[in-house]
């Protein structure tokens, strides 16, 4: 089974109205080639699940500026003033989620769990409209799983089977998003032969990856 496709073939899979997960933390570890191609394609009304909305001139940040999202589920928008403007003027919906809660909701989505109980957000506006559950006398919020139609992630080395190695702090949300979408596309810095990544160093198993877009290296 050949998983290697072109950027164009990858982008053709993303249609108006879809929910996409995008790896990266303020752009570090984000699949920039795929995101740039999405800006060019101009698909609209997407729902974004990502740690943040990056910077106006970078990755998902450019897509925000290009008004491609109707909804953004993120933990931080402070580095992209355009997100705040769209939120304040009612052009787009922004759902701010504590970072650790966002990570767990994505993990739940990929791991078949019905939700997670977290103490984060108790006594704040984050608890609004959420179910509270007391365990051993301590209050928790029930936070529900997140899934996406498509996850766009970035790996440093990806073998032709789809096994992924992430470099340094580029790991962030990529491995958990790789498990939480119907279709997973990894943008590889480098595509290597099967066997070139020692199984000890595989950080996302090939079974999660549907398609690989090769890097230039």
């Amino acid at each position: 089974m050949n998983k290697l496709i072109s950027v164009q073939q990858a982008i053709d899979k993303i249609q108006d109205g879809m929910t996409i997960m995008v790896g990266g933390f303020l752009g570090a570890g984000a699949p920039d080639k795929l995101l740039d191609a999405l800006v060019e394609k101009g698909v609209k009304n997407l729902t974004l699940i990502c740690n943040d909305t990056s910077f106006p001139d970078k990755g998902v940040g450019k897509m925000v500026v290009n008004k491609q999202f109707k909804k953004m589920i993120v933990s931080h928008i402070g580095t992209n003033p355009e997100t705040g403007r769209q939120m304040n003027e009612g052009e787009a919906e922004v759902d701010l989620v504590p970072q650790g809660t966002l990570a767990e909701r994505v993990r739940c989505g990929g791991c078949g769990l019905g939700g997670v109980l977290t103490p984060t957000g108790i006594g704040t506006e984050v608890e609004n409209e959420k179910q509270k559950i007391t365990v051993d006398g301590k209050e928790y919020l029930l936070e529900l799983p997140l899934r996406a139609d498509i996850a766009l992630i970035r790996g440093n080395k990806v073998d032709k089977k789809g096994n992924v190695f992430y470099n340094k702090s580029s790991k962030n949300f990529n491995p958990i998003m790789a498990m939480a979408a119907d279709t997973v596309i990894v943008e590889a810095d480098e595509v290597v032969e099967i066997g070139d990544i020692d199984p000890n160093n595989v950080m996302s198993s090939a079974i999660f990856v549907d398609y690989i877009v090769g890097g230039d290296k």
Partner: protein, 221 residues
């Protein structure tokens, strides 16, 4: 002689550093708290966590040696020290909520005598999002607020926060250029005075009741 802004930040960061112990795992917020790393005593070993996914956070790299795959939680290029480790965001916040972080040092818009903290939102004005702050404040074993005592003369230490909360009753210690204050069941206890502050100065600059013990210490420049 009044301290300038740089001295104020240095005084606060230096005093916060004295709160850390050998072997501690510490997460420093963006801004003033980052400076604390410059004042860790040489005889103790402190490991810094970067919530985007690693332990062993080191200083900024030399010019030209930046690696786009190695950034801190503010997206700035950094280094990782020997003995460090990388992990994904779920593990990173597992470390935070799971009680594996001994202390977090954060700034505040407002903090109150019950240990409530507001530092993520000014409705209608500034809504950057909470990022990892809510998890850090709930999860870290000790929450230290490091900030200037007032904002343009306005009180930031209050009887009760008026801005949306980051977390309820989680703050343990407040360190400013004027004072060290501990949040206790009875209220806010003045532990130490800053280099240029008197008890009356601190009272006037604080919007909460202060409990003044018989002996109030002093910290220096």
């Amino acid at each position: 002689m009044a301290m300038d802004k740089k001295q104020i930040k240095a005084v606060i960061a230096k005093r916060v550093a004295q709160e850390l112990n050998d072997g501690d795992v510490v997460n420093l917020g963006i801004g003033l708290p980052t400076l604390v790393a410059n004042y860790i005593p040489n005889d103790i070993d402190v490991t810094f966590q970067s919530e985007n996914g690693f332990l062993g956070l080191g200083p900024a790299p030399e010019a030209g040696k930046e690696d786009p795959d190695l950034v801190n939680a503010g997206g700035m290029p950094v280094t990782i020290l020997e003995g460090g480790s990388f992990f994904d965001s779920a593990v990173s916040f597992g470390i935070i909520r799971g009680g594996h972080v001994d202390a977090t040092v954060l700034g505040a818009l407002q903090v109150d005598e019950k240990g409530n903290l507001a530092n993520w939102k000014i409705p209608g004005k500034m809504v950057p999002g909470m990022g990892g702050a809510m998890d850090l404040v709930v999860g870290a074993n000790r929450v230290i607020i490091a900030m200037q005592h007032t904002q343009k003369g306005n009180h930031k230490i209050l009887k009760e926060c008026t801005l949306p909360l980051t977390a309820k009753s989680q703050v343990n210690l407040i360190i400013t250029e004027m004072a060290v204050m501990e949040v206790t069941d009875k209220g806010l206890v003045l532990k130490e005075l800053g280099p240029e502050a008197s008890i009356e100065d601190v009272k006037a600059a604080t919007g909460a009741e202060l409990i003044i013990p018989e002996n109030v210490g002093k910290f220096g420049l």
